[in-house]
C-alpha cells in the first residue's frame, strides 16, 4: 500500500537513541512537579546562552519588529520565497562563519545554500553527490541521526571507519583504508567521506594530522569530503578548531580538483541554541552542486521571517564576538561541572574541547565486554538512575561501554541532581559487583 521507504525502518527510530527519548517523554523530570522523573541527557541542545539572544532582541526592538526604519517589511517578507535566500542574511552568515574560525578563512555568501536545518542540508548533499546504493564512509562513533538523514530517502549506504579508544578515537590512515576495502568487498561504490568536526559524540576537534590523512585519502581516491561543522562555535579551548577549508588551503590544494569536492554543513541549532528555527546550510566550492542544491532547497526553505530575524541578530560584529566568547565560556564551565561530577563517581571521560556532551567511559560497569551488556547497563541507568543517556552502540561505536552524556540542555541545578544520581547509581553497582 505504501512505499518501501515508508514500510521499512529507515527512519531509525527503533534505535535506543530515540527509544530513550520516548521513555523520557512519558516521565519527564521537573524539579517541582516531577522530581523523580527521568532527566534528559540524550539531547545535544545548547540552552546556555539564549538569554544573550533575548537581551539583544529586547534592546533592538526596531530591528526585529517586522519593521525596517519604521516601515512595514511584513509584506515583503511574507512574499519572499527566493531559494537564493535573503542576501543580508547570507552576508552576515559568511562573516560569522569566518569569525568562528578566527578569520583564518573567508566565506563567499554566494557559495552558501540555505535550508531548513542541518538534517535537510546533509540529505541534500547525498542527493547531489551519490546514487542510490553508493556509499559514504563515516568515522565511528557518529551522530545516530545520520542513519536517517543520509540513508533513508536517498538509498545511500554508510560504511564505518572504525576508530578505537586505544588512540582516543582518532581517525587513522589504516582505518580509512580498511573502510574503503570493506566497501569494495560489499561491491559498494564509495562517493565520499563525511566527518563531524568538532565530533559528535566525542566532543573533540580533529587534529591537523587527522585532517591531513583525510585529505590525502580523498585526493587519492578522488572522492568527496563533507565536513559537518555544526559544533564549530562550541570549541572552548585548544587544540583550536581547524575547518576543512583551512586544512585544504594549508596543503595548497585550493587550485586542484579537490577544491570542488569539499563541502561544509553548518547550522545555527547548536551554536545558538535555536533548533526550532530550522536554520541550516551547505557551503561548497562546487558551482554545479551549489546550483542544484539551491533548487533542491525548495523542499525545505528557511522561513523568511526567521531569515530576517537572524540577519538582524547577526548583523553586529560586536555582538557576534561577544556571543561567541561568552557561549564558549559557558560551555567550558558546564562541561567541567560534569567532568568533576563524574570524576567524583570514579568515572572518566574522553578529554574534550568542544561540543555539548561528554564521551563517557563506563566499560568497568559492563558485566561483559559486549553490546548486550552495554544495552543492559543503558536500561539500568535509564530506569534505576532515571537518566536518559545515549549508548555507544547507537552511535555505531566499535567498542562497548562508551556513552554520550549531554550537559548543556538543562539548568545547573538539574545537572547537579543528575550527577548525584549518577554517583548513587555507580556506588550501588560497585557494591553489588
Amino acid at each position: 500500500m505504501l512505499s518501501s521507504k515508508a514500510m521499512l525502518d529507515g527512519h531509525g527510530e527503533e534505535s535506543p537513541y530515540f527509544q530513550g527519548w520516548k521513555e523520557y517523554e512519558k516521565n519527564a523530570y521537573d524539579d517541582i512537579k516531577n522530581p523523580t522523573g527521568i532527566i534528559q541527557m540524550g539531547l545535544a541542545e545548547n540552552q546556555l546562552s539564549l538569554d544573550l539572544l533575548k537581551t539583544w532582541i529586547e534592546n533592538n526592538q526596531d530591528a526585529t519588529r517586522l519593521t525596517n526604519n519604521g516601515e512595514s517589511v511584513f509584506r515583503d517578507l511574507a512574499l519572499f520565497q527566493d531559494y537564493h535566500g535573503l542576501p543580508a542574511f547570507k552576508n552576515v552568515l559568511a562573516e560569522f562563519m569566518a569569525e568562528i574560525r578566527g578569520n583564518k578563512v573567508s566565506f563567499d555568501p554566494r557559495k552558501l545554500v540555505l535550508m531548513a536545518g542541518a538534517t535537510a542540508a546533509s540529505e541534500t548533499l547525498m542527493f547531489c553527490i551519490a546514487e542510490h546504493g553508493d556509499a559514504f564512509l563515516l568515522p565511528t562513533p557518529y551522530y545516530p541521526g545520520y542513519d536517517r538523514d543520509l540513508k533513508w530517502r536517498t538509498g545511500v549506504e554508510l560504511v564505518p571507519i572504525h576508530c578505537l579508544s586505544s588512540n582516543g578515537f582518532k581517525v587513522t590512515k589504516f582505518a580509512l583504508e580498511e573502510a574503503y576495502q570493506q566497501a569494495k568487498k560489499l561491491s559498494l561504490n564509495v562517493k565520499g567521506v563525511l566527518i563531524t568536526n568538532p565530533s559528535n559524540p566525542l566532543g573533540t576537534t580533529m587534529s591537523h594530522v587527522e585532517l591531513d590523512e583525510l585529505i590525502t585519502f580523498t585526493v587519492a581516491k578522488k572522492i568527496h569530503l563533507i565536513s559537518d561543522e555544526i559544533f564549530s562555535g562550541t570549541v572552548f579551548e585548544n587544540p583550536s578548531f581547524i575547518s576543512i577549508i583551512e586544512a585544504v588551503i594549508d596543503r595548497k590544494l585550493e587550485k586542484t580538483d579537490l577544491w570542488s569536492r569539499v563541502h561544509i554543513v553548518y547550522s545555527l541549532s547548536k551554536d545558538f541554541g535555536i533548533p526550532g528555527f530550522r536554520v541550516g546550510m551547505i557551503y561548497s566550492n562546487n558551482e554545479r552542486l551549489v546550483s542544484t542544491a539551491t533548487k533542491m532547497s525548495s523542499y525545505g526553505l528557511i522561513s523568511s521571517q526567521t531569515q530576517y530575524l537572524q540577519s538582524k541578530l547577526l548583523s553586529g560584529k560586536e555582538f557576534r564576538e561577544k556571543y561567541l566568547e561568552e557561549n564558549r565560556n559557558r560551555v567550558k564551565e558546564r562541561r567541567e561541572m560534569m567532568v568533576v561530577g563524574l570524576g567524583e563517581a570514579g568515572i572518566s571521560c574522553l578529554k574534550g574541547n568542544a561540543g555539548l556532551f561528554c564521551w563517557v567511559d563506563l566499560r568497568n560497569l559492563l558485566s561483559s565486554n559486549t553490546f548486550t551488556a552495554e544495552m543492559e547497563l543503558w536500561k539500568k541507568i535509564l530506569h534505576e538512575a532515571g537518566l536518559n543517556i545515549s549508548p555507544g552502540a547507537s552511535c555505531h561505536c566499535s567498542e562497548p561501554g562508551w556513552f554520550r552524556i549531554c550537559f548543556a540542555n538543562m539548568s545547573q541545578e538539574t545537572l547537579k541532581v543528575s550527577m548525584e544520581r549518577m554517583k548513587a547509581f555507580i556506588s550501588k553497582q560497585y557494591c553489588c559487583m
Binding site: 505504501l2 512505499s3 518501501s4 527512519h11 541542545e45 540552552q47 539564549l50 539572544l53 533575548k54 532582541i57 519588529r65 512595514s72 517589511v73 511584513f74 515583503d76 517578507l77 511574507a78 512574499l79 519572499f80 520565497q81 527566493d82 531559494y83 542576501p87 543580508a88 552576508n91 531548513a116 536545518g117 535537510a120 542527493f127 547531489c128 553527490i129 536517517r148 533513508w152 530517502r153 568527496h224 570542488s260 541549532s269 541554541g273 535555536i274 533548533p275 526550532g276 528555527f277 530550522r278 562546487n286 558551482e287 554545479r288 552542486l289 542544484t292 533542491m296 525548495s298 523542499y299 525545505g300 526553505l301 528557511i302 522561513s303 523568511s304 521571517q305 526567521t306 530575524l309 548583523s315
Partner: protein, 478 residues
C-alpha cells in the same frame, strides 16, 4: 570554465545533473524577460508586467492591522518575548500543539465548517513543495506513477518526480467540456499505464484547479473517489487554493465527499499550505493531512527534513486561533478576489477575450486559440513570445501546464495593485485590436523574433522560488 564545469558535473549524481528540476520549461523562461525588464509605474512604465506568478497580494492590509494589535504573536516583541526560549528550542516534529490546533480549525473554517479536521493528522512540511515530495516518498517507489489531470501546475514535475524517481502520467482533459475530469479519461490513462507495465500508485488532483481556477463539482468528485477505490490507488487532493473561492459554485473538499460515500479512508490525503489563501509563501507553511494512520506516522518522521520554523508556527498559531480575525479574513479576502476578478474579466470581455468561467484561484485560463496561426504547439510558443516581447506581459503558456490543446494561457490577477491591473488590461485590449486587424503581417514578424533564453547551464534560471528579484529584501545587503 567549461572543463572545470564538466569535471564538477561528473562528480555529482544523476539527479544533480539531469533536468529533473524542471526549470527548462517555458513556465520559468518567462521570468527572465521579466527579470531583465520589470514593470514599474514610475521607473519603468514600459517594462514587462508579471502575470505568471500565482500570488495573493490583495489582503495584506487585514493581516498587518491584526499584527499591530497583537504584538504577542511575535516572539521578538517585548510582549511576546517570554515565549522566546521555549519556542527557539522546540524542534519536535509533531509541531506546536497550538499550531496544529489553529491550522486544523482554519482548514475547517475555509470549508465553511462543514468538516472538522483532527490536529493529530496534521504533518508539517517545507511549503506545499515539500508536502508533495513527502507524500510521494510515502506512497510510491521509484518508477511508480501518479495520474494527473491536465492542465496541471508545472511545479509538480519537479516536486513529485525529481528526487523520488516517480512518474507523472497525464489524464487528458479537453476544452470541449470545460476541461472536466471524466471517468473515461481516468480509465484511459490507467489502461495506458497498465499496457506499459507502469504501476499506478495514485491520482493527484488540484481542487480548486491551477491553472483553471475552477472547483470540482459533486459528480466529478464522487466519480474520482469511486475510481480510486475501485483501483485501490491513493487520492492526493491539493487544496492549496481552498480559501480563494470567490463565487459560486461553492468549494467541495474531498473531506466532505468521504463523509457521504463508501470510501477506504486509507487512500485519502490532502496537501495544503498558507501560501495562496493567506499570501504567505515566504513563511513556508506546508501541511500534509492524511486519513491513513501509517502515512501520518511515517510522514511525521519524514517531516524532519522540512519542519516549519517554530517562530512562524507561533505567529500562525496566534493569528489563526483568533476566530474573529479568521472569519473576517476569509470573507474579506474572498470579496477582494471577487472584485479583482470581476474588473479584470469584464475588461478582458470588452477586449474580445474569452476565458474559462471560473470562481476560484488567483488566475484566469485565457482562450487565445483564435489568435493562433494554426492549432499547434509551435504557434502557441510564437504567440507567447509575442505577448512577452511586444505586449510586455509575462503570462504562462498552456504548454507548460501540459495542456493537450494549444492556445490557452494562464494569466494571474492577484499579484499586483489596481493601477498595474489597468495598465495590463489596456495593453491586452490594444494588442487584440491590432492582432485582429493585422494577423498575417504579425505572423511573418513572429518568425523573426528570436529570444534566447538560457537553458541548462544558465545561472540565472528562475523557479517559483525565485520570483521577486526586485524585492527590496534582495536589494538590501545589510
Amino acid at each position: 570554465m567549461g572543463y572545470m564545469c564538466n569535471q564538477q558535473t561528473q562528480l555529482l549524481s544523476k539527479i544533480a545533473t539531469d533536468n529533473g528540476h524542471g526549470e527548462n520549461s517555458p513556465y520559468f523562461d518567462g521570468w527572465k524577460a521579466y527579470d531583465s525588464d520589470p514593470y514599474h509605474r514610475i521607473e519603468n512604465p514600459t517594462g514587462v508586467i508579471q502575470m505568471g506568478l500565482a500570488e495573493n497580494q490583495l489582503s495584506f492590509d487585514i493581516i498587518e492591522e491584526w499584527l499591530l494589535k497583537n504584538p504577542k504573536a511575535s516572539i521578538c516583541t517585548v510582549e511576546g518575548m517570554s515565549e522566546f526560549r521555549d519556542i527557539a528550542i522546540y524542534q519536535d516534529y509533531h509541531g506546536l500543539t497550538e499550531f496544529r490546533n489553529a491550522v486544523a480549525k482554519f482548514m475547517g473554517k475555509v470549508r465553511g465548517d462543514r468538516v472538522v479536521y483532527d490536529p493529530n493528522r496534521i504533518i508539517m512540511s517545507g511549503g506545499a513543495t515539500g508536502a508533495h515530495e513527502l507524500v510521494t516518498f510515502c506512497l510510491a517507489d521509484p518508477d511508480d506513477a501518479f495520474l494527473v489531470p491536465t492542465p496541471y501546475y508545472p511545479g509538480f514535475d519537479r516536486d513529485l518526480r525529481w528526487r523520488t524517481g516517480v512518474q507523472l502520467l497525464p489524464v487528458d482533459c479537453e476544452s470541449s467540456n470545460d476541461f472536466k475530469i471524466t471517468r473515461k479519461a481516468l480509465e484511459a490513462a490507467y489502461e495506458k499505464a497498465q499496457e506499459e507495465k507502469i504501476r499506478v500508485k495514485g491520482l493527484l488532483i488540484t481542487n480548486p484547479s491551477n491553472p483553471l481556477g475552477t472547483v470540482l463539482d459533486l459528480e466529478t468528485l464522487k466519480s474520482i473517489v469511486t475510481f480510486v477505490n475501485e483501483k485501490n490507488i491513493h487520492l492526493i487532493s491539493d487544496e492549496i487554493y481552498a480559501g480563494t473561492v470567490f463565487g459560486s459554485p461553492g468549494f467541495i473538499s474531498v473531506s466532505e465527499i468521504i463523509e457521504e460515500m463508501e470510501c477506504n479512508r486509507d487512500l485519502i490525503h490532502i496537501v495544503y499550505s498558507l501560501s495562496k489563501d493567506m499570501g504567505f509563501p515566504g513563511f513556508r507553511v506546508g501541511i500534509v493531512y492524511s486519513y491513513n494512520d501509517d502515512v501520518v506516522n511515517v510522514g511525521r518522521k519524514m517531516s524532519s527534513f522540512g519542519l516549519v520554523s517554530t517562530q512562524t508556527q507561533h505567529l500562525i498559531a496566534s493569528m489563526l486561533s483568533d476566530d474573529e480575525f479568521v472569519e473576517n479574513f476569509i470573507s474579506k479576502n474572498s470579496e477582494k478576489l471577487s472584485t479583482r476578478y470581476k474588473r479584470f474579466s469584464s475588461g478582458l470581455y470588452k477586449a474580445g477575450i474569452r476565458c474559462l468561467e471560473s470562481n476560484a484561484g488567483l488566475f484566469f485560463w485565457m482562450d487565445l486559440r483564435r489568435l493562433l496561426k494554426e492549432p499547434t504547439a509551435d504557434a502557441e510558443m510564437a504567440l507567447w513570445r509575442l505577448i512577452i516581447n511586444k505586449v510586455k506581459l509575462n503570462v504562462s503558456p498552456g504548454l507548460s501546464f501540459h495542456c493537450s490543446e494549444p492556445g490557452w494561457f494562464r494569466v494571474c490577477f492577484a499579484n499586483m495593485d489596481d493601477e498595474t491591473m489597468e495598465v495590463a488590461l489596456e495593453r491586452i485590449r490594444s494588442f487584440v485590436r491590432k492582432e485582429v486587424s493585422a494577423k498575417r503581417q504579425r505572423w511573418q514578424d513572429n518568425l523573426k523574433v528570436r529570444l534566447s533564453f538560457g537553458r541548462l547551464d544558465d545561472p540565472h534560471m528562475r523557479s517559483p522560488h525565485s520570483p521577486m528579484p526586485q524585492s527590496p529584501l534582495v536589494r538590501a545587503r545589510t
